[in-house]
């Protein structure tokens, strides 16, 4: 069985896994990193959203063999460290607005929100309704209005 090496939440990891196993299962089933959730594994629901080299992506749709040794994968567990704090400002905003209900989609929501704000700020803009309308992360509990308030608040501190 091949060995795959990459950087996960700041630490180099090596795993034995068949080439085609999607990264989501490598994270959850082999490495025991369960922050990213299984909602569909079809790249639709976005519950598994993580970062690769600072960009949002869905590990359910990436084979582990497509991850390079220098790729930096960040899951929700590793998000605070990217801000050098106990909580990333976006996570703190999520607490300030009591966003979550069941919580199943929220790690993915937070990761997507951080990436979106980074993208928008890199374009020299502020987050707009159109930006938020474009988020595909589904929340079946329907807490969208609090998600949107928290993203705006988190963005202020990023």
């Amino acid at each position: 069985m091949p060995t795959h090496t990459f950087i996960l939440n700041g630490e180099q990891v090596s795993v034995n896994a068949e080439d085609n196993v999607r990264l989501l299962w490598v994270l959850r089933d082999i490495l025991g990193v369960t922050g990213p959730k299984y909602g569909c594994a079809l790249d639709v629901c976005k519950a598994c959203t993580c970062h690769i080299n600072g960009l949002a992506f869905n590990p359910c749709s990436v084979q582990v063999s497509d991850i390079k040794p220098t790729d930096e994968i960040t899951t929700i567990e590793g998000l605070p460290a990217t801000a050098g704090a106990d909580l990333h400002p976006m996570q703190q905003a999520w607490l300030d607005y009591d966003v979550a209900q069941c919580g199943y989609c929220q790690p993915g929501q937070v990761m997507a929100a951080v990436a979106l704000v980074n993208q928008v700020q890199a374009e020299g803009r502020e987050i707009s309704d159109a930006d938020l309308d474009g988020l595909r992360n589904i929340c079946r509990c329907g807490t969208y209005s609090r998600i949107r308030e928290a993203i705006r608040a988190g963005a202020q501190r990023m």
Binding site: M1, V26, G32, T34, K37, A41, A47, N58, R140
Partner: protein, 767 residues
């Protein structure tokens, strides 16, 4: 039913100090809570059964006679622990329970540890989560246990200091004596323990003295959620429990005739076991991805399920054939509004796919799953495994949503079957596609309504609701058996009809009022979906109410003011109309809509604004639907006593999204005996691009000292308000829901393999 003629604060409540190493207090479930009923004028309607005894009352009555005890324990670290016999699925139940304990104990909220109780058969029917009943049923017993604990801690400290207990105070987990002596609860916990079990009574705090209950509190698991630490079932590491998924037939409830390439599947990387189950073939592997790989390859000969020839059209034809005649007499001077409404199948699938962990041994079994009726799960799993129920331990885990689905234990039963057949622990998950195609559904139904009116009054209101049967086999049957003799609706009604009668009542003085259910016995996998019958029944009623208003020359709000029976509904209606600026000028193809509803002892009004302009309706979106957009939603809710206004608001926000989805975009489409929907880009639950940008919740001042149910309350009035707004914006009467039902807005995934392979191009869409 119980009359309550003296306020909660003057009564004394019974509990027990139970023998334990540290202070442990146990209570019985409380008797049901009554509430005042008021009659109104216009042409008064007799109270319908739901107004005399509603489903929640029946649940409370069934729970009251049980001798099962629930226990609060004070630890030497000063924390209070309580295993609540309910499920947390996102509705905020554990937070509210923690608040109850913290309040009566005078303990900081952070020092209260709430866990979910395992299945406890001795609790009989006091371990069912549903019907928005948990706050109503737990409010007095949980507070009683905490109040007795506080009282015992005070008595213990008083004895230690040789002081009069009446001179001691408690605050933030510390008892303070008349001379300034202090002792923490942790320091007192062992001395306060009982050697033998004795009964005691205590009074509850007066509402005016509350410092936590009634205040906005964040969820107690919020931090765990945003850091990824909150554990759902599939996050648990149970030794030896490996990923397992099931290859399923291309028809609902099909069965296995033969597996034709088992050896080839067993040879695939990572695969450890293959086992034939009742409705599919289970594959166990090192990773879920390798289970999915195996499902692509496995070759099964299927026996079609009993619904193989059914489609939306065939089901609708059977419903139409079963529609009963209207029976209310029509006065010669009256005119009538006649309408017939169609509601498609809907899916109650949460975001988390159905799943469970099972470790079945020769003489015992251990199960982990998010279960709302764990006692029934335990009994049925034990029977399926041919084990005594006492040998089956069922752990209740926290769920990623439920919306009614977790009343059933389909995945837990399957996991148990797989584990027994494989002889190994399994971590079994349904796939997303399984969840839509083989999972529980809200049944298709048709509501035929006739309202007759004359001389400024509504004389009759008749609503005949015909539905594919709803499966209530999860355990309400025992409750009905136990309480049927006391119900005013006994005799000749099915369980579904009884539930319908206990949950549906018209809030209007419309003279002779008949609302009744009949069902057709098609064996779809149905179940209660959040708010059960109300979203469809109320949507139909409120559309007819708007029609009546129009025919009688009145504005929708003015009309409702004239005919509503209940003061609380009038109050929320008026607040909504004022806060939402009802009647303001709206641009063409946009409109306001309003609806009211009363259920679970709560009262609610929802006012929405909808945009049906061509530009909005034709917004482009990839792999999704847009259409009309609700631009504003205002919810005004009277929850009796709002335990946690922040949590209450959250439930209203969620109910709004559900109502919008049911009215505008989301349903299943059945063809060839199975739903076509397979992902969230097929089943169009409300997404960010369709959510209202302006959502406001007004929590009315408390009208009671008892909490109403709230988890489901927002769905029906939102669906109705959106439908009414759509009607006003388009100048039409919509009669088929969801509005976009007639257009299949996606390309269906193949029926086999039952779980599609995952994409590989995820790196093409980073941002």
């Amino acid at each position: 039913m119980v009359e309550q003629d003296c306020p909660l604060t003057r009564r004394r409540f019974l509990g027990y100090l139970v023998a334990a190493p540290t202070l442990a207090v146990a209570v019985d479930a409380a008797a049901g809570l009554a509430r005042p009923r008021q009659a109104e004028a216009a042409v008064p309607s007799l109270p319908q059964p739901e107004e005399i005894l509603d489903l929640g009352d029946m649940q409370d009555l069934a729970a009251a006679p049980t001798s099962g005890l629930i226990t609060v324990v004070i630890g030497e670290d000063g924390t209070a622990s309580f295993a609540v016999p309910r499920a947390e699925v996102g509705q905020g139940m554990t937070t509210a329970i923690a608040m109850m304990v913290a309040e009566e104990l005078d303990l900081p909220l952070g020092d209260v540890a709430i866990t979910l109780a395992d299945a406890r058969p001795e609790l009989l029917m006091n371990q069912l989560t549903g019907g928005s009943n948990s706050m109503r049923s737990m409010y007095v017993p949980v507070r009683t246990a905490a109040a007795i604990a506080r009282q015992r801690l005070v008595e213990t400290a008083a004895a230690k200091w040789n002081a009069d207990p009446a001179q001691l105070t408690t605050k933030d987990g510390v008892v303070t004596g008349p001379d300034g002596q202090t002792a923490s609860y942790g320091e007192l916990a062992v001395a306060a323990a009982a050697d033998t079990t004795i009964s005691v009574t205590a009074q509850l705090k007066a509402q005016s003295d509350f410092s936590i209950l009634g205040t906005p509190q964040s969820r107690i698991d919020a931090r765990d959620i945003v850091t990824g630490r909150k554990q759902f079932t599939m996050d648990l590491q149970v030794p030896g429990a490996l990923p397992t998924m099931v290859a399923r037939p291309p028809t609902i409830n099909g069965t296995v005739a033969s597996v034709n390439n088992e050896q080839a599947v067993l040879a695939m990387p990572g695969v450890t076991d293959v086992a034939v189950l009742t409705h599919g073939v289970a594959i166990r592997a090192q990773t879920f991805g390798q289970c999915i790989d195996a499902i692509q390859v496995i070759d099964v000969t299927w026996v079609p399920g009993t619904l193989a020839g059914q489609s939306d059209d065939t089901v609708e034809a059977q419903l139409s054939a079963a529609l009963p005649d209207l029976t209310a007499p029509l006065s010669l001077i009256a005119a009538s509004v006649d309408a017939e409404f169609f509601f498609a199948f809907a899916s109650n699938s949460p975001l988390e796919p159905d799943n469970a962990i099972a470790d079945v041994r020769a003489d015992s079994a251990e199960i982990w799953s998010s279960l709302k009726v764990p006692i029934v799960a335990q009994g049925e799993i034990a029977a399926a495994l041919d084990l005594p129920a006492s040998a089956v331990t069922v752990h209740v885990t926290e769920g990623g949503g439920s919306f009614g689905r977790h009343l059933f234990h389909d995945a837990a039963l399957e996991a148990a079957e797989a584990s027994q057949k494989m002889g190994k622990p399994v971590k079994l998950s349904w796939s997303r596609t399984d969840n839509f195609r083989q999972g529980r559904t809200h049944p298709m139904c048709v509501s035929r309504v006739r309202a007759s009116y004359a001389l400024g009054n509504v004389l009759t209101y008749e609503q005949r609701h015909t539905s594919v049967q709803t499966d209530f086999g999860h355990g309400l049957g025992d409750m009905v058996t136990a309480t049927a003799a006391q119900l005013p609706v006994a005799g000749g009604l099915t369980l579904s009809q009884t539930i319908f009668e206990l949950t549906q009542s018209s809030p209007y003085d419309f003279g002779l009022t008949i609302q009744a259910l009949n069902e057709i016995p098609l064996q779809f996998n149905t179940g209660s979906m959040r708010n059960i019958y109300s979203p469809n029944v109320v949507c139909a009623q409120e559309l007819v109410v708007d029609q009546l208003a129009s025919k009688m020359g009145q504005d929708p709000v003015g009309f409702r003011r004239s005919f509503l029976k209940d003061e609380r509904l009038l109050a929320v209606l008026n607040t909504a109309a004022e806060a939402g600026d009802w009647g303001k000028a709206m641009p063409p193809r946009t409109a306001q809509g309003i609806a009211v509803h009363s259920e679970y002892q709560g009262a609610i009004a929802v006012l929405v604004e909808i945009d049906c302009t061509p530009a909005t309706v034709s917004r482009p979106i990839s792999n999704g639907v847009t259409g009309p957009r609700v631009t504003k939603a205002l919810v005004v809710v009277d929850a009796g006593f709002a335990i946690n206004p922040l949590g209450l608001e959250a439930q209203m926000i969620g109910g709004v999204q559900d109502g919008i989805a049911l009215a505008l975009t989301s349903s299943l489409h059945i063809a060839g005996g199975i739903p076509l929907e397979g992902s969230w880009d097929d089943y169009f639950y409300t997404r960010e691009w369709n959510t209202p940008l302006d959502v406001e919740v007004i929590v009315m001042p408390d009208t009671s000292d008892s909490p109403s149910g709230a988890g489901e309350l927002g769905v029906a009035p939102t669906m109705a308000a959106v439908a009414c707004a759509y009607a006003r914006a388009t100048g039409t009467l919509p009669t088929r829901f969801p509005i976009n039902y007639g257009t299949l807005g996606f390309t269906p995934l193949p029926l086999e393999p039952s779980t599609p392979q995952s994409p590989t191009n995820g790196l093409d869409s980073t941002f």
